[in-house]
């Protein structure tokens, strides 16, 4: 198994440094991501204003796409702005996996129980 506690290629976080040219490339990437995130936000706003909530399948699709777009935004913010994408693979897993598992479970339980309460309210309330 690979040891992940040894500093390899001077890649210790405190020594993380780059030159001006690398800086230009990195800044370009950051600007592209910014434009992308803004575009997604504008799309979400447009969808939010244009598509009204109702019980149809169209609305359920819209809701799902809101969630998906938000997750995409979150992924870009975490991996690129917070530089988690540049960190060691193990760190990525340590941060993301427990959270993902817990949140998925929490959401499942939340919705399941919530719908159950609604059902009970409708039947007996």
């Amino acid at each position: 198994m690979e040891r992940d506690d040894l500093i390899v290629n001077d890649s210790y976080s405190v020594n993380a440094r780059h030159s001006e040219e690398e800086g230009k490339k990195i800044r370009k990437k950051l600007y592209m991501v910014t434009v992308f995130l803004t575009a997604i936000t504008v799309l979400e706003i447009f969808m939010g204003v244009y598509f009204k909530r109702n019980g149809t399948f169209m609305w359920e699709t819209i809701k799902m796409s809101f969630l998906l777009l938000t997750l995409v935004k979150a992924a870009y913010i975490v991996l690129i702005f917070m530089h988690l994408g540049d960190e060691r693979k193990n760190l990525k897993y340590v941060v993301l996996l427990p959270y993902a598992l817990f949140i998925l479970y929490l959401i499942f339980i939340g919705l399941y129980e919530g719908l159950s309460v609604q059902n009970l309210n409708n039947t007996f309330g």
Binding site: D4, E20, G23, R27, L30, T34, V49, H83, V117
Partner: protein, 355 residues
């Protein structure tokens, strides 16, 4: 080459002489803190989801509740919150540019970008404060009906709809009417409903006897008073959506004689304007407002913490503390916190305002 340990100074490595993930202790702990805070916010948003899905009544629609801009009348659904989201994302970008400048040991760059980030944060906080203030102030208030009633309303296309309402159903007032009514109730003015209008008679607050009267008119009124008439304009489904007869009905206006009928069926102790610690005008489910304040408030509190920490680090960079240290890792660490704040907002925005 791989598996070969670097000899780094002791204060950089953790106490064991090694460093998991090649990351400094401070950064690792910041990540752990962010995961724990993310769990907190995740829990809050999930609680919101549970209460919302458990409710049998229609839940308020984001673009109907949040549709005002400061100092403007009219309906601008979600525009202000979109602006807030944009400001926060841009401040996140300026933050990551500050981090990038720190990696090049570019002190001027760090100061410039941290400064912009600080300003973005302050703007966001100010905007959120306005949102709260407007939410608390209300958009005209509402009341509940004391008995079932059927009225004719018109939708935004001018079509007519017959609405059958039950006792306890909410009826809202338009902004102008509601504010006048609120004012009248506060001042104890006389309120009369007739001819499809609300007549409010306010008493002047100065002395009874007019000094140096103007002929015979001075005797006619012992106390000067003015009566203003406001056309009755009420709104059904102001904040919600109703699916009926295969169509969606929102913001149905009731005016004239029909509105008079509604006003006369008002249960007077249910009148509420805006939001206070006891009641709010926004939903049958009073928790809607509670969640708004709690979630956006908790988030705003984090923004405030971030703004303060950013200011401190800005000043440290300005004074050259990091130049002396040889690295700008502190900028990176507070950057992580600031990005986290932005990330939470992205989720709050989606779950509260959009969905």
């Amino acid at each position: 080459m791989s598996g070969h340990a670097e000899a780094l100074s002791k204060e950089q490595l953790w106490s064991g002489g090694k460093s998991p993930f090649s990351i400094s202790y401070g950064k690792m702990m910041m990540w752990y803190f962010l995961v724990s805070d993310a769990l907190t916010f995740g829990g809050l948003l999930t609680a919101y989801g549970v209460i919302r899905h458990a409710s049998a009544d229609p839940w308020p629609v984001g673009e109907q509740v949040f549709e005002s801009l400061p100092m403007l009348h009219g309906s601008y659904p979600l525009i202000y919150v979109a602006l807030m989201t944009f400001i926060l994302i841009i401040s996140s970008v300026t933050m990551v540019l500050a981090v990038e400048a720190g990696h090049r040991m570019d002190k001027k760059g760090v100061i410039k970008w941290m400064g912009y980030t600080f300003l973005g944060g302050v703007f966001f906080l100010g905007s959120q404060a306005w949102e709260w203030s407007h939410f608390i102030h209300g958009s005209g208030g509402g009341f509940q009906l004391s008995a079932p009633i059927t009225v004719n309303a018109s939708d935004d296309h001018g079509g007519d709809v017959s609405m059958s309402l039950n006792a306890g159903n909410w009826v809202h007032m338009t902004s102008d009417l509601g504010h006048a009514y609120e004012h009248a109730l506060e001042h104890g003015d006389k309120v009369e409903i007739a001819n499809g209008q609300m007549m409010i008679t306010s008493h002047a607050s100065h002395d009874d006897h007019g000094h140096g009267g103007h002929g015979h008119e001075a005797d006619a009124h012992a106390m000067a008073s003015t009566t203003t008439a406001y056309p009755l304009e009420l709104v059904l489904n102001k904040y919600t959506l109703e699916h009926k007869d295969g169509k969606d009905y929102r913001k149905l206006t009731v005016s004239g004689a029909e509105a008079e009928k509604l006003m006369k069926t008002m249960a007077p102790n249910t009148v509420v304007f805006g939001a206070n610690l006891k009641k709010n005008e926004y939903a049958v489910q009073q928790q809607y407002a509670n969640f708004f304040f709690f979630i956006t408030g908790f988030h705003g509190f984090h923004v405030l913490q971030g703004v303060i920490i950013n200011l401190i680090v800005f000043l440290m960079a300005y004074r050259g503390v990091f130049e002396k240290r040889g690295h700008y890792e502190m900028v990176e660490k507070v950057g992580l916190f600031w990005h986290f704040v932005d990330l939470v907002w992205v989720f709050v925005f989606t779950f509260f305002y959009l969905v």
